[in-house]
């Protein structure tokens, strides 16, 4: 081991540039995985803290499976169940506060940006939890109106004391609450609570008669007795209720999880690239060192020693790369956490803590980094162990074996590509994603065979081109005699460029689609936007009054709104949006992909029918025309799917659109969470702005924005996202381009001796330089051509994959293709020029000495 380590270290430090470049590949992959797995859990942690900060002696929590409200009477079913010591119902809602609502000072960041409005039955609540009210205040009483109890810390933040009032947004405008009692400062993370009587919160959220949580304390501490009681509760309430943990943010959680999965995928892809680079490097390394290895074998090194030496080299790189990757990943993660703390707070009300690093993550990252490196080194190490002592004494061409293996890998490559294509046809998101990876892998495997004839043809071309220069044989020979080398170089290029083109295709298509949908679905003149767009559950709406008052403003033609209720189908949470089939199409619109628009709206008005989005169909595995059973607070209701359509805000959430009449009847919800308004023709924004803003002042939970401006803002935001995407893309492309340069350069270095010979027998420097550059360019061209083809396919796959949720058409990424061509040739030339100059400058004697 000691000896192997010495040897590995010497070889690694002997080629510093190459070692750095290949190690960088590992560093990068680990960096992405580690960094991203710091950022997202930190966000989730903050999110969890917000959502789960409920304290007390609660043993069991009951919620509706939809996450929404349900009739207060349901709690009665718990009476008489044995094993319950007490229960308390509540209606809890996050109330997001607009910026500067509390302190009114734009210069200072707000200390409170959201509160939890908790409506409870004072008697029952005290049976579960002790509320230590500071003298001389008091706790709530059931018949209190506009009274609230808050913590000392919230009172401080708000600058109020006992007997003062605070103003909170509600569905019926701003509501003033008098503080009747103050609790000790809050120590738990998460939102501050504003405690009010149940009736108060029902009025403020527009959920008359509804509650959304029952907290239960059990008598026994015995596990089986508790399980029995829990089971009794579940059977008393039925399957529409979830007995157990409170999980109101599941939708948001799912999004974050999805994000994490996507980034992990990206990280794995980066590592995969890194692995490929290492594999390539070590293949070259083994070829380069045939003589050394043979010599070691002749002197008595066993096969195991040789395998070990190469693996040790990989191990050293893997360990160093992973460690550096982890450190950089941490810095990157911490940087992103800091950077996003502010927007997370203002947009989503998530307080981000310090970066979360679990020991498991460190271990996993290390294992993955080292594992991938070792895995990539394994094959080259094995082939190194097959080098015989005779290889040192009579270096031979190792191409025969290569041919045989190219055949086998070609077949498996074609099979993998075939499976990838089948995955595409299946339309299943997971299979398509898997197919993308398979396709890349297949391409790498099949490439040698595909590239051989091309290399041969290019060789002929070169021979013809250089015929007059007198070094024709050499030029052709290099390309045709060494297809292995050609393949390695070209496939490195191929992969790098395929990724550029694929992501280019995706970005082009996505931007086009976004622009389209934005204008179609949010094209109205004014928008009234709640704080958490699309996470409707946490938004406080407005009573229909608000929309009605807006409609009365002179110059307003029509007002349309979306209402929200949480529903569930087969246990899957569904966001149910209510719209008015008459007014909605006039002001806004949905982007229909299946079903007739006019008929669909008419159907909504005429019965229990719904329009659903792509995510709905994909997640629930149903199709247009099916009838589904929706869990509502009133029990199960059957709805028929009449069309598939999407609006931008809800595109990635499982969403169904029903009429507002049905939403009121089945879900008991009448508050608007999103309002759109159109002006009469000829009326300018300025004419009505003052009046609209005045009305909106009563409903500070909404941000008023001109539709055009909102679209502009959104587009700007999207562009920022694309910029980040492109940055990541470059990140991903860089290592593969480096790999390409690396292989091209090695290609030249390997032949230093040969070039020296050519010079010795009379080739001029110019001839040598030209030869090397032309060869490298041709190699790059082959790789580029294949890379673009592969990239187009991959991009199509990605678009199709996303299309399951966002319907979109594939747009040809002209920019991406042009960039790929430019980059491919540029790097090809760069990779050639440096070693070519070196080769040309080389003293003939030195070249002959070169080992």
């Amino acid at each position: 081991m000691n000896f192997q380590l010495t040897l590995a270290w010497r070889y690694l430090t002997g080629r510093v540039l190459r070692t750095t470049l290949t190690t960088f590949a590992v560093i990068f992959g680990v960096l992405v995985i580690f960094g991203m797995n710091i950022v997202l859990p930190t966000m989730m942690e903050g999110f969890k803290a917000n959502m789960m900060a409920a304290g007390g002696v609660v043993d069991v929590t009951v919620t509706h499976v939809s996450g929404g409200g349900f009739p207060a009477e349901v709690a009665r079913k718990l009476d008489g169940i044995p094993g319950l010591s007490a229960y308390a119902v509540s209606l809890e809602r996050t109330v997001n506060l607009p910026p500067d609502f509390v302190d009114g000072d734009p210069a200072r960041p707000d200390r409170v940006s959201a509160v939890n409005l908790v409506g409870l039955d004072p008697e029952a609540a005290r049976s579960l939890q002790v509320y230590l009210i500071d003298e001389p205040g008091r706790f709530l009483q059931a018949n209190d109106t506009n009274a609230a109890v808050i913590s000392e810390s919230l009172a401080d933040a708000w600058g109020v004391g006992l007997g003062d009032t605070i103003s909170l947004p509600s569905v019926s405008g701003l509501t003033d609450l008098t503080i009747v009692g103050i609790l000790p400062p809050r120590t738990l993370p998460g939102n501050e609570e504003v405690l009010v009587p149940l009736a108060q919160s029902q009025a403020m959220t527009g959920q008359e008669g509804q509650i959304n949580t029952i907290r239960i304390a059990l008598t026994s501490v015995d596990e089986s007795a508790r399980a029995e009681a829990t089971a009794a509760i579940q059977s008393a309430l039925g399957s529409g209720y979830q007995v157990g943990a409170l999980d109101p943010g599941s939708e948001m959680f799912a999004s974050l999880k999805l994000g994490q999965a996507a980034f992990n995928m990206f990280g794995v892809l980066a590592l995969f690239m890194g692995g490929f680079i290492i594999f390539n490097t070590f293949r070259t390394v083994v070829a380069e060192r045939r003589r050394d290895i043979g010599m070691l074998r002749a002197l008595g090194a066993t096969r195991r020693t040789i395998t070990g030496a190469i693996l040790t080299e990989g191990l050293v790189q893997g360990v160093f790369g992973s460690l550096i990757g982890i450190v950089l990943g941490y810095l990157f993660g911490a940087f992103v956490v800091r950077l996003s703390a502010e927007p997370m707070k203002s947009f989503l009300n998530i307080n981000m803590g310090s970066p979360v690093v679990s020991p498991a993550l460190v271990v996993t990252s290390l294992l993955m980094g080292v594992g991938v490196t070792l895995l990539s080194t394994l094959l080259p190490a094995r082939s190194a162990s097959r080098v015989t002592p005779m290889d040192a004494l009579r270096p031979s061409l190792a191409e025969v074996e290569y041919k045989r293996r190219a055949g086998a890998s070609f077949i498996s490559g074609v099979v993998m590509i075939g499976i990838a294509l089948l995955g595409l046809v299946s339309g299943n998101m997971g299979l398509i994603a898997l197919g993308g990876l398979l396709f890349l892998g297949g391409l790498i495997l099949a490439a040698p065979m595909l590239l051989r004839p091309i290399a041969w043809a290019f060789g002929r071309l070169l021979a013809w081109f250089y015929a007059r220069q007198g070094i024709a044989d050499l030029a052709q020979g290099n390309l045709t005699r060494q297809p292995g080398r050609v393949t390695v170089t070209a496939s490195a290029t191929l992969i790098g460029l395929a990724i550029i083109v694929a992501l280019g295709g995706m970005t082009t298509s996505l931007t086009g689609m976004m622009d389209d949908i934005l204008h179609k679905t949010l094209g109205s003149d004014y928008l009234f936007i709640p704080p958490s767009v699309a996470v409707w559950n946490s938004d406080l709406g407005a009573s229909p009054d608000f929309a009605a008052r807006l409609g009365e403003v002179e110059g307003v033609e029509a007002v349309a709104s979306l209402r929200f209720a949480a529903g569930a189908i087969n246990g899957q949470a569904v966001s149910v949006l209510g719209l008015d089939p008459q007014t909605f199409p006039q002001v806004a619109g949905l982007d229909f992909t299946e079903g007739d628009e006019a008929e669909a709206y008419a159907a909504l008005a005429s019965g229990r029918n719904m329009i659903v989005n792509g995510a709905f169909l994909a997640t629930l595995g149903v199709k247009v025309g099916d009838t589904v059973e929706v869990t509502t607070p009133e029990g199960p209701r059957s709805y028929t799917i009449v069309a598939e359509a999407v609006d931008l805000l809800n595109a990635k959430v499982v969403t169904a659109y029903i009429s507002q009449a049905n939403l009121a009847a089945d879900f008991g919800r009448t508050d608007d969470v999103f309002i759109m308004l159109n002006l009469k023709p000829g009326v300018a924004l300025e004419d009505v702005e003052a009046q609209i803003k005045a009305i909106a002042a009563d409903y500070p939970q909404f941000t008023v924005m001109a539709g055009k401006k909102y679209i502009d803002d959104m587009m700007q935001y999207m562009n920022a996202v694309w910029a980040v995407m492109f940055l990541l893309l470059i990140f991903l492309a860089i290592p593969s381009l480096i790999a390409m340069m690396n292989t091209l350069a090695i290609n030249v270095i390997e032949r230093t001796r040969e070039i020296g010979m050519v010079r010795a027998v009379g080739a001029t420097r110019k001839q040598v330089r030209r030869l090397v550059v032309a060869e490298a360019l041709l190699l790059a061209a082959v790789g580029t051509a294949f890379g673009i083809l592969a990239g187009l396919y991959l991009g199509y796959v990605i678009v199709a994959g996303i299309g399951v949720m966002f319907p979109m058409t594939y747009e040809f990424p002209l920019a991406g293709v042009l960039a790929a061509i430019a980059v491919g040739l540029l790097f090809g030339a760069l990779a050639a020029v440096i070693p070519a100059r070196q080769a040309a400058r080389l003293q003939v004697v030195e070249a002959l000495r070169y080992e």
Binding site: N2, F3, T6, L7, R10, Y11, G14, R291, D292, M295, L296, R297, A298, L299, G300, A301, T302, R303, T305, T388, P389, M390, A392, L393, R849, E851
Partner: protein
């Protein structure tokens, strides 16, 4: 008993039309403590013979016995171990590992055998010093002259104190004086330490240091001469002329 015994040793490279018979039923025996030189025209199979004796390559036909044990019956690991412990090689071309220093290169056979690196280097340094390379221990092969590299290779062959030393043109790149030094050193090794040396050479003067010379031509043993010391070189030169070199 002979240390080396070959039985109808035959090596054919390639197949069909292009087949080259490098060795053709060669039967030789080398005794313990003997210094044998192998001579013959270029391409007659000298290196091939040495490789087969050293277990670096396998014959098409026939067998090699070292201390009575047939190499054909040994697996790769056993052969490797044999090379490591019993045989020291000096090859026709330099074949030092370029990333290792002179002393590390010379220490390789013992390092590979599991001797502690510091101890291995100490032993190697002793040999190198004996060969006048005491001040070049830390030099890389590309910082050494051809002759110096060759001396490192000879030191490497001797460091594990093997019973058998196989040397292919060990003096090919050396000036007359260094060549003589190496040759007399190999002779010392046989006489003082009782080791066996088989050496390939073109140079009659160098061959004259041997006890016995085997002449090869076209893969066959054409003559064997036991040398009486006086005028050996001339005797060999005329012999070489006779077989057409």
């Amino acid at each position: 008993m002979s240390l080396i015994q070959t039985e109808n040793l035959t090596k054919i490279y390639g197949a069909g039309e292009a087949a080259v018979t490098a060795l053709d039923h060669v039967n030789i025996a080398v005794n313990e403590g003997e210094f044998v030189a192998v001579m013959g025209p270029s391409g007659c199979g000298k290196s091939t013979l040495l490789h087969l004796i050293g277990g670096l390559d396998r014959p098409n036909e026939g067998n090699v016995r070292i201390e009575g044990v047939a190499l054909a019956e040994m697996d790769d690991d056993a052969l490797t171990k044999l090379r490591r412990q019993k045989i020291g090689f000096v090859f026709q071309f330099f074949n030092l590992i370029p990333v290792l220093t002179a002393v590390e290169n010379a220490a390789l056979p013992v390092t590979l055998d599991g001797v502690k690196p510091s101890e291995a280097k100490k032993r190697a340094a002793e040999w190198l010093t004996r060969f006048g390379l005491g001040d070049r221990l830390a030099a890389r092969p590309d910082q050494l002259s051809g002759g110096q590299q060759q001396r490192v290779a000879v030191a490497r062959a001797l460091v594990s104190e093997p019973a058998l030393i196989l040397a292919d043109e060990p003096t090919g790149n050396l000036d007359t004086r260094s060549g003589d030094e190496i040759a007399s050193l190999l002779r010392d090794v046989t006489k003082k330490y009782g080791r066996t040396v088989v050496m390939v050479t073109h140079d009659p003067r160098i061959a004259a240091y041997a006890d016995r010379i085997i002449f090869l031509k076209d893969g066959k043993v054409v003559d064997e001469t036991n040398l009486e010391r006086k005028g050996a070189a001339d005797q060999i030169a005329s012999k070489m002329k006779e077989i057409g070199d």
